[in-house]
């Protein structure tokens, strides 16, 4: 794999070794999703038959669980809520983060270093540290038990993260470009919106994708701040409200998990490379 003259045999052996190790990993990573889909398409009789093979669908594919989900539950409302919350919270955070990220990465003013550090520390604060007091803050703001409780609180983790990521992207843009624009008479705001932003598009796409993913997937705040069924997000609705009494109806639960994951899967498949680069930049840069 590294250098030197290798025989054909050792190359093949090395490749076989690589695949032999990777295949179990890929299996481990993907099996729960496969099982989710299989379960959602199986009828209850087979699902709860101890003699059946759980990996396969032997008595025919059915769509009853999906139909139940769409027509007998609030699932579509949850999906709509999730979409509104994700899009709004991500957009607000993006604007705030672009302004702050540009300022902290590019401008010189007293205290810029400490502000950068403050953003970094906030980035590391886990949501589970603050959910109790925040649950009271949303009560005082009068938005408790509505989707706005989440729109307002999600930027608390999105803005630090996005600012941090964008600072890295802004730093890679050559200073001369901005200086030229300023000399040519552009205002600072024009320089930011017309010169810098177009050059930072990859960073902005990345932040948008992560923002959408993190807000769509969020569980702690969504579970804590909203208790009315009609105002829940898809993730919390499926996890908490599809269980009737103490009984788990696994067919419809897994159908819900499949459909609620779908938007993320589609975005992910489309923009895989951005996810990889964003993940790397977010953790390693700085």
């Amino acid at each position: 794999m590294i250098v030197g003259v290798r025989s054909r045999g050792s190359k093949i052996r090395s490749a076989a070794f690589g695949y032999a190790n990777l295949v179990p990993y890929v299996f481990f990573a993907l099996f729960p999703f496969y099982y989710m889909i299989v379960t959602s398409l199986k009828n209850d009789a087979e699902l709860y038959n101890l003699k059946a093979v759980p990996f396969l669908i032997q008595t025919g594919v059915i769509t009853d669980h999906y139909r139940y989900l769409f027509f007998k539950t609030d699932f579509l409302t949850w999906m709509k809520n999730s979409l509104i919350i994700s899009v709004t919270a991500t957009s607000i955070s993006l604007v705030i983060a672009i302004l702050a990220g540009y300022s902290l990465a590019r401008l010189r003013f007293p205290g810029v270093g400490s502000f950068g550090t403050a953003v970094f520390i906030t980035y590391l604060v886990p949501p589970t540290l603050l959910f109790l007091p925040l649950s009271q803050v949303v009560v005082w703001l009068g938005i408790s038990d509505t989707i706005w409780a989440l729109v307002v609180t999600y930027p608390t983790f999105l803005v630090p993260f996005s600012t941090w990521l964008l600072m890295g992207y802004f730093r890679t843009i050559p200073r001369e470009v901005e200086e030229c624009a300023l000399v040519d008479g552009a205002s600072r705001m024009q320089t930011l919106t017309r010169i810098v932003l177009p050059m930072a598009i990859p960073g902005i796409v990345c932040v948008t994708l992560f923002g959408f993913t993190l807000t769509w997937n969020e569980f702690t705040y969504a579970l804590t701040f909203v208790s009315q069924t009609a105002n829940k997000t898809a993730v919390v609705g499926v996890t908490a409200d599809l269980i009737r009494g103490d009984i788990y109806y696994w067919g419809s639960l897994m159908a819900g998990a499949v459909v609620a994951s779908l938007p993320i899967v589609i975005v992910y498949v489309w923009f895989l490379d951005y996810y990889v680069s964003g993940l790397t930049a977010g953790a390693v840069k700085g």
Binding site: P32, Y35, A100, L107, F115, L129, L130, P133, T156, F219
Partner: protein, 312 residues
Amino acid sequence: MAVGQRVLEATGRARPGRLTRVREWWEHEPVFGYGLIVPALVLIVGLVAYPFGMAIYFSLSDYWVGSPGSFIGLQNYRDILGNEIFRQTVYNSFVFTAIAVVLKCVLGVWLAMLLFRPFRFKRLIRGAVLLPWVIPTALSVLAWKWMFDSLYSVVNWTAIHLGIISPPGPNWLGMASYAMAAVIAVNVWRGLPFFAIIVLAGLVSIPREYYEAAEVDGAGSWGRFRHVTLPLLKPVLAVVILFSTIFTFSDFNIVQVLTSGGPVNTTHLFATFAYQMGLSGGNLGQGAAISLFLFPMLAVIVFVQLRYIRKE
């Protein structure tokens, strides 16, 4: 803003002139710089710093949901430290974090090295490996809950048919040590891609000449790993381990969905116990005190991160 106000008052001229002056003032680098961070600052102060202060105040008062209490000093902390479940939670958190982070680290480096080799379908396999990290955790954990079902567990079914265990197999989520193993397994499943992808980026950045030099010096593959790969990965590994420790230690989703802290509190972590105490139980004071125990751990990690890692 104060300077702007004064400029406006001092000039007192007709509107166009004033506007120009405000514009000029806005063009000053420090003014513009501070201006742009105001929204972020308001957010961080109002919805992170202030709630953090509130958490401290809650923890020092007998605050219940719906009834603001009075200041009671350290009573909540005394109560918690005397609470059997809390001591179990501390123990659980350390066991969970230590085992999960070590597993993710070792397997993550191993996986990254496998992904680093040239092979076919690279993009596809990379995409598949990262998938558990991208899908909503609460939903994928739901699938795991079904896979660990007491009666229809596919894990047990497979193990029984392979002859590894005898029927009926363990009740994964109903027995203390099995439940902890299950929670750790799911955390590793979800966190491994994060390690692997970042370590992979670290591997890519290692210059190949080092390996050539090591090979010339007669180093075998283990020697190359031990003396070239590992030392050069150290900064990347340090960052990933710190990040992962924070997020594993403060985990909520996996335990809440998979076991809700059970059986008999043997998988409770700080976050899930704080949730149970503060929201399900309504005792916000003690709940806040429990979640604040996350803070010392966080502070140490932030300190190490700022002090050593960002310097490098």
